[in-house]
């Protein structure tokens, strides 16, 4: 049964906010067929691939986090209906814009050409079925993460469509994200003023923990934060922000509260070994504050307001956080609303409007 939509009270005072992370459910491949190039449509059909759905295991359907109970649908996966998205989120929240991030097996498959073809299809599908049907929606460009050259081609193809406001990667891939092999993606993103969004997830053929495969979803999910720390350390150490000074990175669904400790650690270690990374010529935390942003949900808030205040202070900037609901995933209840309790009003304004506009130039121009 579908429950009542969260009362709009949960979103009161947030009209005009920019929701930087929502998730249309990935389509099954049959729905993608009309959006594929003819060659690849026939390829998929000959192999019978349309019978697969290439769902990733990031959000097992029955895991509670997969969907806010208020947002489950009578039929079909949560997030699969535009009308429901409008009723649950877009109408009560009245955002200035909401950014769709699509996580799909196409991004991470072994065949680079098939991966690229399916990503093209996914982006076409997003544009036709979502962006074209509600002008509040924007999207990230889904790219074949293991083929930076083809990923850059896809960025070039879609850059003229201003509804695409970001490039989407996953935190854990075959190689740490800062490696030079990945640079064609950053070059193309920087050229077009597109932030690179790094979403929780991996290619699902490496364990989330470097210590090996865990036994439970609990471990997987909690350990993703370490994957983000690894990705961020790699971007910093490899000099990506020196090479691409205009690049912005948005950590999506990374959690937030692990960040200060991670920055203290890299700042401290860098002072002693900085000769290894001679291009890294300032405190790594300063580069993070300049180039990196984080979406709000999940926040992993500390248990009381005093600790929250300390943590916000430790982040060291009021420009880091970007409002997100992570629709339809379940990080907050209607009664709480999408903002951690106890945020000062001036910061709420930054998080919901000013920071997203500063991060996504294409939203500011719209």
């Amino acid at each position: 049964m579908t429950r009542e939509a969260p009362p709009s009270g949960a979103f009161s005072g947030l009209a005009g906010a920019i929701d930087c992370d929502i998730h249309p459910a990935p389509p099954d491949l049959r729905a993608l067929l009309p959006h594929l190039d003819p060659y690849w449509r026939e390829h998929v059909e000959r192999r019978g691939l349309e019978r697969e759905n290439l769902d990733t295991s990031a959000y097992p359907p029955a895991a509670p986090i997969n969907a806010n109970p208020d947002w489950r649908l009578p039929a079909g996966p949560a997030g699969s209906s535009l009308a429901a998205l409008q009723a649950h989120l877009l109408d009560p929240l009245a955002p200035r814009a909401a950014i769709c991030n699509l996580i799909h097996g196409a991004q991470m498959m072994m065949s680079e050409d098939l991966s690229a073809a399916l990503c093209r299809g996914l982006n076409n599908w997003l544009a036709a079925e979502w962006l074209g049907r509600d002008d509040r929606l924007r999207a990230s460009i889904t790219v074949p993460v293991h083929s930076p050259e083809l990923a850059a081609e896809e960025i070039e193809r879609l850059a003229p469509d201003r509804r695409f406001v970001q490039v989407l990667l996953l935190a854990m891939a075959e190689l740490p994200l800062g490696r030079r092999m990945m640079w064609p993606i950053y070059r193309a993103a920087e050229k077009h003023g597109l932030p690179v969004g790094i979403h929780a997830g991996s290619s699902f053929r490496h364990p989330p923990s470097a210590g090996g495969w865990g036994s439970t979803y609990l471990e997987d999910y909690v350990t993703y934060a370490q994957g983000f720390a690894g990705a961020l350390n790699s971007l910093l150490a490899e000099g990506v922000f020196q090479k691409f000074p205009g690049l912005r990175v948005v950590l999506i669904e990374s959690g937030v509260t692990w960040l200060p400790a991670s920055l203290w650690r890299i700042n401290k270690t860098w002072r002693g070994v900085r000769a290894e990374v001679p291009w890294l010529d300032r405190l790594p935390a300063d580069l993070v504050r300049q180039h990196v942003r984080l979406t709000l949900q999940p926040f992993d808030a500390p248990p009381d307001a005093r600790s929250l205040a300390v943590l916000l202070d430790q982040l060291g900037s009021d420009e880091l956080l970007l409002f997100s609901t992570d629709y339809p995933h379940w990080h907050f209840d209607a009664a709480e609303g999408p903002l951690p309790a106890g945020l000062p009003p001036s910061l709420i304004r930054k998080i919901t409007v000013e920071n997203p506009l500063a991060t996504y130039p294409r939203l500011a121009a719209a």
Partner: protein, 137 residues
Amino acid sequence: MARHVVAAVGEIPPGGRKLVTIRGREIGVFNLDGAYYALINRCPHQGAALCTGAIVSRLEAPMPGEYRLAQPGSMLRCPWHCWEFDIRTGQSWCEPEDVKARSYAVTVEPGERLARGPFVAETVSVAVEEDYVVVTL
């Protein structure tokens, strides 16, 4: 402030150093290509004997992969946690404005002028025909 004669010029060759104690303070005196500098022998981080650390170059890179060995022998690397300090200024590589080792003014003066005084030379005997390294402190 007093002038302390810490060495005869020939005693510290280029690239060399001498540790001295002035008014109970340990100080490292360095010769960088004929110019002399003095730093306190105490790291601003956690107090290691900074002036006993390795003398290194500035390893720099304007871009990832563009490696430059600049100003050979101009940096001192702390023996404890390897923070690097500019011998000429005491500034740390990582936070030059905020983290500095105390530095002292050094001059080279002829023995003849020193002989007119005043100066302090506890362990160095001064002859009028030689030049000396003098730390003011």
